[in-house]
């Protein structure tokens, strides 16, 4: 199997280094780092906006383009974190804790160098995990029947909720909102329209790509408009000094730990870069000899979250490629691009679409190398990028969103849906409701319904979900996640009761 993987990976590399493929991966990386670095535009917004361009591309090229934006974007946020103390994306928040103090003490070049190198190393480790873990996992997933897929989808939804610990109810409301939106339109079995209010345009349902474009692009534009964001930083110095081999060697245990944490967190649906980065920072603070000095500009405090953040990228892609279950907004957009091009991700893809899968794997490896090249370049030109008037940028984003929404089904009504989701997303963000559960509910809801109904049709009883060994194991893991997420609330209630008694 190992030889097979290496052989296929070589083929993937061959595909990747065709001019058009490599050019778009590089362009994606450049766009991703830039979007990530600009406060107010997250890489997910850039990915959503890239969808309309995916129509002109082959599935392989579209995936490489999105891979470039994803991998580059998740790093890009650190540039503004380190130089401005403003995280470009949520995952870059921990970079402000030790990155910005380094900048204040005149070591911004060193801080940027550490961030770039560690992000690239974390991303490479994650890409390797994806390359060597995905094919055997996909082989295993080939033995899945409908109940197992139902259980896996259920696990995906449960983990999304479990991760939103402090925001359990808003996350649940968001998720059920997504599940309700997902059940609009014709049903899978009888073709009966549901929740359409006799409105024929809704018979086809709400396409998740349309909703995603609205939520991640239009909603973000509205949010930024009302925030009066000031982005005038003309005197920034973005020079970068890559760490020497000895300096990197000193950080080896930090990087190894953070890579491991990032990869583990990345596989969990809903966790993403921010969770990986924060947990990694916390762990490093506990184990580092200089833990008490974290927050004052300690190199380990910057290296750990940077490595972990990018180490989530490849790992997060594993469930999307092998099971067709996206665990984050970014991988959901990648799945959308594949589905728009008529490719269904899942274990079968590893049999029928090896060329695509291994080219994407190669893309992840090379995208992490490109981070170093473009990271240096963009950090240097950061002050110029910050001069782009946000008004122009956001006007173009709205127009591209409308094109993207229209292009999904060439339907004018989808434009209205995207705009409505944009407004909904604005209010959700304003009232601190997480938007990712809604999107995942919208994507996974119809899948879950289909798996549930076909399971019932094949096996007759819902008890099948508990008696089949694989399904029972997956359901038990979902149960454990639920207990884990509810545990702090239970402890707090017990503590409160005890305090009252005293």
């Amino acid at each position: 199997m190992l030889l097979d993987i290496l052989n296929n990976l070589l083929g993937g590399m061959g595909n990747l280094f065709q001019l058009w493929n490599f050019g778009l991966l590089a362009l994606g990386s450049l766009i991703g780092i830039t979007a990530g670095a600009l406060p107010g535009i997250a890489f997910v917004n850039a990915m959503a906006l890239a969808l309309p361009f995916a129509y002109f591309m082959s599935p392989v090229t579209a995936m490489l383009f999105l891979t470039g934006i994803y991998v580059g974007g998740i790093f890009g946020g650190s540039i503004s974190s380190i130089l401005l103390n403003i995280p470009g994306s949520p995952g870059s928040l921990p970079a402000t804790w030790d990155g910005y103090p380094l900048t204040k003490s005149g070591k911004s070049a060193k801080a940027l160098g550490i961030a770039i190198t560690c992000s690239a190393i974390g991303g490479m480790v994650s890409a390797m995990l994806m390359i060597f873990f995905s094919p055997p996992f996909a082989n295993f997933a080939l033995t899945f029947d409908q109940p197992e897929f139902f259980a896996a989808t259920f696990l995906g939804l449960v983990t999304v909720i479990a991760i939103a610990k402090g925001q359990m109810l808003p996350a649940l409301a968001s998720l059920f909102g997504g599940l309700v939106f997902g059940s609009v339109g014709f049903d899978f079995f009888y073709g009966a329209p549901r929740l359409t209010f006799n409105w024929e345009v809704l018979d086809g349902g709400i396409h998740f790509v349309v909703a995603m474009i609205g939520m991640f692009a239009i909603g973000e534009v509205l949010y930024t408009l009302t925030q009066n964001l000031k982005t005038n930083h003309r005197n920034l110095k973005g020079h970068t000094q890559l760490p020497r081999v000895k300096e990197l060697w000193d950080l080896k245990t930090t990087i190894a730990r953070a890579s491991g944490i990032g990869c583990m967190i990345g596989v969990i649906p809903g966790a993403g870069g921010i969770v990986g980065a924060v947990i990694s920072y916390g762990v490093e603070k506990q184990v580092s000899k200089r833990g008490d000095k974290f927050g004052t500009g300690v190199e380990e405090g910057l290296a750990a979250p940077e490595t972990a953040k990018n180490a989530t990228t490849g790992a997060a892609t594993i469930p999307m490629l092998t099971l067709g279950i996206p665990g984050s907004a970014a991988t959901a957009i990648m799945m959308a691009a594949l589905m728009l091009k008529g490719v269904n991700p899942g274990p079968i893809l590893f049999v029928q679409g090896k060329e695509l899968v291994y080219t994407v794997f190669a893309g992840y490896l090379v995208a992490n190398v490109l981070i170093v090249v473009f990271g240096l370049l963009i950090a240097r030109g950061f002050s110029y990028i910050m001069r782009v008037p946000p008004a122009i940028l956001y006007a173009i984003i709205i127009v591209l969103s409308v094109i993207g929404a229209f292009a999904v089904r060439n339907n004018i009504f989808d434009i209205y849906i995207a705009l409505a989701f944009g407004i909904l997303s604005y209010f959700m963000k304003r009232f601190n409701f997480p938007t990712t559960p809604l999107v995942l509910g919208l994507i996974l809801g119809p899948l879950m319904e289909r798996f549930y109904l076909t399971s019932l049709a094949s096996y007759g009883s819902p008890a099948e979900f508990l008696v089949r060994p694989k399904t029972a194991i997956i359901m038990s893991i979902a149960g454990l996640f639920l207990v884990w997420s509810l545990w702090p609330s239970v402890i707090e209630t017990i503590r409160r009761i005890r305090l009252k008694e005293k």
């Binding site: 309309p52 002109f56 402090g166 925001q167 359990m168 109810l169 808003p170 649940l172 409301a173 059920f176 909102g177 599940l179 309700v180 997902g182 059940s183 049903d187 079995f189 009888y190 009966a192 329209p193 549901r194 929740l195 209010f197 239009i218 509205l222 408009l225 009302t226 925030q227 009066n228 008037p389 946000p390 008004a391 122009i392 956001y394 006007a395 173009i396 709205i398 127009v399 409308v402 094109i403 229209f406 292009a407 060439n410 434009i415 209205y416 705009l419 944009g422 604005y426 304003r430 009232f431 601190n432 409701f433 319904e449 549930y452 109904l453 019932l456 049709a457 503590r495 409160r496 305090l499």
Partner: protein, 199 residues
């Protein structure tokens, strides 16, 4: 933010979820197409999901009521100059935590933004993509405090032109052309700019 507004926000979201849930559930239960007697009934799944939404809305409402009662209790305790134990006062689901962030929002711009977006959605169909896009780019620059008329006009036209070249000429995307005379205008414009050959 004043207390009354805070309270409204505590209750408005759960009540909104409950109201939406009740409307959707009623719609599903009254729909003759959705026959719950059928095996794998088409109504089963949406009813389960809407019920979930209702349940969450109810839990949120309970949490909001509990939070408010606690706040009242603490206020009374404060008035009595008693030592207050703050443990357990703040709820995890507590919208007041976001109040500081709330005040940063410019509601006038929000209103203008939403109006612009809705207007764009509707004008795309009637005026066609080209004219509506020129309009929205200009409008957006204007509400973002760009006052130079020249900048607004030039950016609107150049931006729209570039988008048309990329998506119509290169991407062959059949973007909305408008209705009636606006449709004819779009066709004429596309032909004049050599964006496509056939009508």
């Amino acid at each position: 933010m004043v207390d009354a507004e805070k309270k409204n926000k505590h209750f408005s979201i759960p009540l909104f979820c409950l109201a939406v849930g009740i409307i959707l559930l009623t719609n599903l239960l009254l729909d003759p197409v959705i026959d719950l007697q059928k095996p794998q009934s088409p109504g089963l799944w949406p009813i389960a999901m809407v019920s979930g939404l209702l349940l969450v809305g109810f839990c949120m409402l309970c949490t909001a009521i509990r939070t408010q009662l606690r706040e009242k209790h603490n206020l009374l305790a404060q008035n009595n100059n008693k030592q207050i134990d703050h443990i357990g006062v703040k709820q995890k689901f507590d919208f007041s935590q976001q109040d500081s962030d709330e005040s940063d929002h410019d509601d006038r711009k929000l209103f203008l933004g939403i109006v612009g977006i809705i207007a764009y959605g509707f004008t795309v169909h009637y005026l066609g993509f080209t004219l509506a896009t020129v309009g929205i780019i200009g409008y957006w620059l204007f509400i973002w405090n760009i006052k130079s008329f020249l900048k607004i006009i030039s950016t609107s036209f150049v931006g729209t032109g570039l988008i048309l070249v990329v998506f119509v000429k290169i991407g062959y995307l059949p973007l909305p052309k408008g209705v009636g005379q606006f449709h004819d205008f779009t066709i004429w414009l596309f032909r004049t700019l050599s964006l496509f050959q056939q009508s």
